[in-house]
């Protein structure tokens, strides 16, 4: 009998195992290919048929990546700064707004939630130049704070949606009980609702971090070509280089840039599922 679709009673069969293994192989292969290419000497990257593994492991691509004037180390640092800060700000603002939208009862709440999501219908390329103009007027052109301020367009709507649905699953009795005990709304939010929302917040953190870490267009226009470049801007310059994409260097750079994301996923991926489920896990 096939497995009952519920994990606690799962009984896998050879067919399911095989299918999952195949799926995982397709899923992981490009990452493997990236790693393999990053360590290959130039000739092997383009040879046909290609070798699965480098005949000899070379670090030449990494040396070029971190060449004295490449500034790649600094770009990684910038990316860490921007992604971390954006993530924190997004978490705070989205937690507030999510709670307000889920538990408040004012007119137009539903409309607000929906229109937040509709922020994504505006093509970023149309937004970025006028935004750059505003930032420049305020003195934030080519700066990381300017970029962080703008990243909220990308991160906030999704985070609000996720947290609103999360807060909505919290039993209202919890906060209500606090109110009856004379606690202010602030305390009900801060001391009772928020701690229960940790998985949701963790999921928001992951989504936000990865989206800002990988973002290219806003970073490209807003921080310019100077020392505030982020890693994705640096990688795109390698991909679109005038002397052709240096795939070896690019793969080396991609690998380095992906390490923080991999670490984040390894430690936090279980929260994503919990975060998306909200408090609604049953039985």
């Amino acid at each position: 009998m096939p497995p009952i679709p519920k994990r606690r009673t799962a009984t896998s069969t050879a067919a399911v195992d095989g299918f999952v293994i195949a799926l995982a192989a397709v899923s992981v292969f490009p990452l493997f290919w990236m790693i393999s290419t990053a360590f290959k000497p130039f000739d092997e990257i383009y040879q046909f048929p290609p070798a699965l593994f480098p005949s000899q492991v070379t670090l030449g691509q990494f040396e070029r990546l971190f060449g004295v004037s490449s500034g790649f180390t600094r770009m990684i640092g910038n990316s860490i700064l921007v992604s971390t800060t954006t993530t924190l700000i997004t978490m705070v603002l989205a937690a507030m707004a999510g709670y307000g939208l889920a538990k408040g009862r004012f007119r137009g709440r539903r409309l607000l939630l929906r229109s937040t999501l509709l922020a994504y219908v505006f093509p970023p390329i149309l937004l970025v130049v006028p935004l750059f103009g505003i930032l420049a007027d305020l003195g934030y052109a080519n700066t990381l704070p300017g970029l962080i301020a703008v990243y909220l367009i990308i991160t906030f709507p999704f985070a609000v949606w996720l947290l609103t649905s999360y807060f909505a699953t919290l039993p209202t009795e919890l906060t209500e009980a606090a109110r009856i005990d004379g606690a202010s709304n602030m305390r009900a939010f801060w001391s009772i609702a928020l701690p229960l929302t940790r998985p949701g917040l963790a999921a928001v953190a992951i989504f936000t971090f990865i989206n800002t870490w990988n973002e290219f267009l806003f970073a490209f226009v807003i921080v310019g070509g100077g020392q505030n470049r982020t890693a994705s801007v640096g990688l795109s310059a390698i991909l679109r280089g005038a002397e052709g994409a240096e795939y070896g260097v690019l793969m080396a750079g991609s690998l380095i840039a992906m390490i923080p994301i991999i670490i984040l996923f390894v430690f936090a991926q279980k929260h994503i599922v919990a975060g998306l489920t909200g408090g609604a896990v049953k039985g």
């Binding site: 000497p41 130039f42 000739d43 383009y46 040879q47 070379t58 030449g60 070029r64 060449g67 004295v68 004037s69 490449s70 970025v128 130049v129 006028p130 750059f132 103009g133 930032l135 420049a136 007027d137 052109a141 080519n142 490209f220 226009v221 310019g224 070509g225 100077g226 310059a237 679109r240 280089g241 005038a242 002397e243 052709g244 994409a245 795939y247």
Partner: protein, 461 residues
């Protein structure tokens, strides 16, 4: 046309915000300078202070190192000034400058290609007076290769771009495969077709790999070059387009035929830059590219030395003439720049020894478009000496005779939009891979070109 004085310069709405701020800063700086002078500190800097934002397209380590030398000299001679260098590759500029114009963050000095700078000039964001006076300070017309400025850097009398270095497009070939096929170095269009056929062995390697990606303007460049070889033009500076001419038709037919018979299908996603990889990985027997292609092969570690030794090049195949396509990598000064500092930095970059070191930073990548360098030292460089009679000679011939794409009658405001609309790439692909007849493909392209020309003329008038 009633374009004198140039009406494009009338509008400075976006920059006025910065002018206002700039005025304040200038006043402050002026006070500071004045107080310094009153201390008896007699600097002859002429106000060379503050940050000099410098956009350059030089990604490679070796080239950046030579730039750094120039920055160090500049900063040592002008202790109050500091260079803020930003890497802005050719492809990034069209996205970059409109934003910078809106934000008032244009650089003080920049290097890019005239094709990209002309739209900036038309938009009124190039300070042609500052550039004109820089030319004078450098020594006037004779400082540059004869005729080069007029052909590639002046529009309606205004200098908008002055060459930092130059190069020329060549027909590069694998001499080993050519020898194996028992063929001579190709001179004419027919020769090249014969060579492409003889050196075509798919899927291992192809006769002539063309960059026809719609992300790039490689197809437009090729079409213009072969049209020039036939003695024709795509569009003139008045906006007359010639897609219906015999010269363009012959070029389209030629390129479409070769791409389909002796080129890979992946040409459709091959960008100009990919020509490097395609030539260096052995899958292309011929490509159209600059001497830089061979220069990079010689400076890349890990390439097969025999392959590298077999790379050579000659001029673009000739019909009535070789369709030389010059590349000018040029300096310019945007409006509201720190002009004094920009002038000084530019002059340091052009200093004979600084400039020579830069030109040789990747040997045979850059060719001089200025007359002040030590030619013995330049041509004595081993790689350049090795290719003296072939690649080097043909590059110099092109710099002398040719022009930037579409600038055969001087800078042309129509060519950029026509190339950027990717009409040519789609047309050549239609003929090569889409089974479309040459006439039908040309008709479609001509209609698109007409629309662009009409739109620009409505904007100009």
């Amino acid at each position: 046309m009633n374009q004198q004085p140039n009406p494009f310069h009338a509008m400075h709405r976006a920059t006025s915000r910065r002018s206002f701020l700039g005025l304040g800063l200038a006043a402050t700086a002026g006070l500071a300078t004045a107080s310094c002078s009153s201390d008896g500190n007699d600097t002859t800097d002429g106000g060379v202070t503050g940050d000099v934002v410098f956009w350059h397209p030089y990604g490679q380590e070796t080239r950046q190192a030579e730039l750094q030398v120039a920055f160090d000299i500049f900063e040592e001679e002008h202790p109050g000034a500091r260079v803020q260098a930003e890497y802005v590759p050719f492809g990034d500029l069209p996205l970059r400058w409109p934003a910078a114009q809106q934000g008032g963050t244009l650089p003080d000095l920049m290097i890019n290609i005239p094709e990209n700078i002309l739209p900036m000039h038309i938009a009124g964001v190039i300070d042609t007076d500052a550039l004109g006076s820089l030319v004078e300070e450098l020594g006037g017309e004779p400082f540059f290769a004869p005729g080069f400025l007029d052909k590639n850097g002046r529009y309606q009398g205004d200098t908008f771009a002055i060459p930092h270095y130059a190069h020329n497009r060549l027909m590069l070939y694998r001499s080993d495969r050519l020898a194996a096929a028992g063929l001579e170095v190709p001179e004419t269009l027919a020769d090249v077709e014969e060579c492409a056929a003889a050196m075509n062995n798919p899927p291992d390697f192809f006769g002539w790999t063309m960059p026809l990606s719609q992300n790039d303007i490689g197809g437009g460049y090729l079409l213009w070059m072969i049209t020039r070889s036939n003695g024709g033009s795509l569009v003139d500076p008045e906006g007359n387009q010639f897609w219906a001419s015999d010269e363009v038709r012959a070029a389209a037919d030629y390129l479409g035929r070769i791409a389909s018979q002796y080129g890979p299908t992946s040409a459709a996603t091959t960008a100009i830059g990919d020509t490097f990889n395609r030539f260096h990985d052995g899958t292309a027997s011929m490509v159209v590219d600059t001497a830089a292609n061979i220069a990079v092969a010689n400076s890349t570690e890990g390439l097969d030395p025999e392959l590298v030794a077999s790379l050579n090049g000659t001029h673009i195949p000739a019909g009535t003439q070789p369709g030389h396509m010059v590349g000018s990598v040029a300096m310019t000064i945007p409006v509201d720049a720190n002009v004094a500092a920009a002038h000084e930095l530019a002059k340091v970059l052009y200093r004979p020894e600084v400039h020579l070191d830069f030109l040789l930073s990747i040997p045979m990548f850059h060719f001089p478009a200025t007359t002040n360098i030590d030619t013995d030292a330049f041509f004595g460089e081993p790689l350049i000496a090795q290719y003296k009679d072939t690649v080097v000679a043909q590059t110099l011939a092109g710099i002398d005779e040719g022009s930037v794409a579409g600038f055969e009658d001087g800078p042309n405001p129509f060519i950029g939009p026509i190339l950027d609309a990717k009409i040519s790439e789609v047309m050549i692909q239609d003929i090569a891979f889409g089974g479309m007849g040459v006439d039908a493909a040309l008709e479609k392209a001509a209609a698109a070109a007409d629309e662009i020309v009409a739109r620009i003329q409505s904007q100009i008038s």
